[in-house]
Amino acid sequence: MVLTTVTATSMLALTLGDSAPAAAVKMKNLDGRELAISDTAGRNGTLVIFSCNHCPYVKAWEARIAAVGNSGQGKGIGVIMINSNDPVAYPEDSFEVMQQRAKERGFAFPYVVDASSDVARAFGATRTPEAFLFDQAGKLVYHGVIDDNAEHADKVEKHYLQDALDALVAGKTPAVQETKAIGCSIKFRPKA
């Protein structure tokens, strides 16, 4: 079967084994300080989550994102959540709302502003939330969703991200390394 892509609106995402691109790009954290992905690297690996404030899928998953992120921090995984959305498109994705949301949800990890959206572009991230987990050597070992049921936390059967993180901490390769879910598309800022 011939598959013809008529437009290439979706960028190529990282593939397993890739290292984090744009890892040295400084981004403003909630405390106003500049932070890069490389600054957050943990001894057991690094978790990068593209997220935002306005998206219903993010909202549905937010408490679980806080839980898995906070648990990762406690296990030697560096965690950084990145908002690449243009707040001009969504005022709810502003820095102030990020601060508010982090407080409400108890994020114990950095939540930073990708002010040009170029970090998301470099990752080939397309939607929120979208997680990228790198191992001790900085290689991508998991890419995808938080779990298999955004809508109903009580009906989750597969805790993909938590399982991948636990595997990594145990020195194993995650059993499931790539997952997908519907999500809000990232609202990229216009290119400079």
Binding site: M1, V2, L3, T4, T5, V6, T7, T9, S10, A13, C55, P56, A60, A89, T126, R127, V145, D148, N149, A150, E151, T179, K180, A181, I182, G183, C184, S185, I186
Partner: protein, 203 residues
């Protein structure tokens, strides 16, 4: 259980003709009244597929039917001979809502030449009242669908290249060949430019 019934509905519904699908769907779509189902059914099946879509002023509450990835495949297979534009959207997705009027316009204008438009909402079940409201406000007076399956199964059944971002659009040629796939909103001009070559009768 739901998935099974839905697949059956899609299978027996053939060209998406509303009565059967609505009968099955009614068990699950409590918000769509039986009356609305009947109205939608008569609209959808009172015309031949591909005839000028009925533009009823009573456009409110056309059938909204649950569907799975397998159901979508069956539905596309049943439309062999027609060009199918399949669009997955959600009420919370701004670009989806922005694109919606153009999809309805494309359907109105190119339906008579052989285009079917299949709209599938990816909203959470708790948002179905908003989905119905949006559809009727938009004048979508033909049967549409909502996803009942887990995201990943649904995504991979429809298009393995799909990241999950919305809106997502697939074009299927008359011979069932996958003729287009894109994520994100497209303009009326872009959409029609992609569809028109596919509508040329096959010789």
């Amino acid at each position: 259980m739901v998935a099974l019934s839905v697949a059956n509905a899609a299978r027996s519904g053939q060209h998406g003709c509303a009565p059967r699908a609505a009968t099955h769907g009614a068990h699950f779509v409590s918000l769509v009244t039986a009356l609305a189902m009947l109205a939608a059914a008569s609209t959808a099946c009172g015309r031949r597929e591909g005839s000028q879509p009925a533009r009823s002023s009573a456009a409110a509450a056309a059938a909204l039917t649950p569907i799975t990835g397998a159901g979508v495949k069956d539905l596309i297979a049943a439309r062999r001979g027609r060009v199918v534009l399949l669009n997955v959207w959600a009420t919370w997705c701004d670009p989806c809502r922005e694109e919606f009027p153009d999809l309805l316009r494309v359907r109105r204008e190119l339906g008579p030449q052989g285009l079917d438009v299949v709209l599938i909402s990816a909203d959470f079940a708790s948002q179905l009242p908003q989905v119905s409201g949006f559809l009727s406000r938009s004048g979508a007076d033909f049967p549409t669908y909502f996803k009942t399956e887990k995201d990943e199964e649904f995504i991979n059944a429809l298009e393995p290249r799909w990241s999950g971002a919305l809106p997502m659009t697939l074009l299927v040629a008359r011979d069932g060949r996958r003729a287009g796939f894109w994520e994100g909103k497209a303009s009326y001009q872009t959409i029609t430019a992609k569809i028109r070559p596919l509508l040329v009768p096959q010789g």
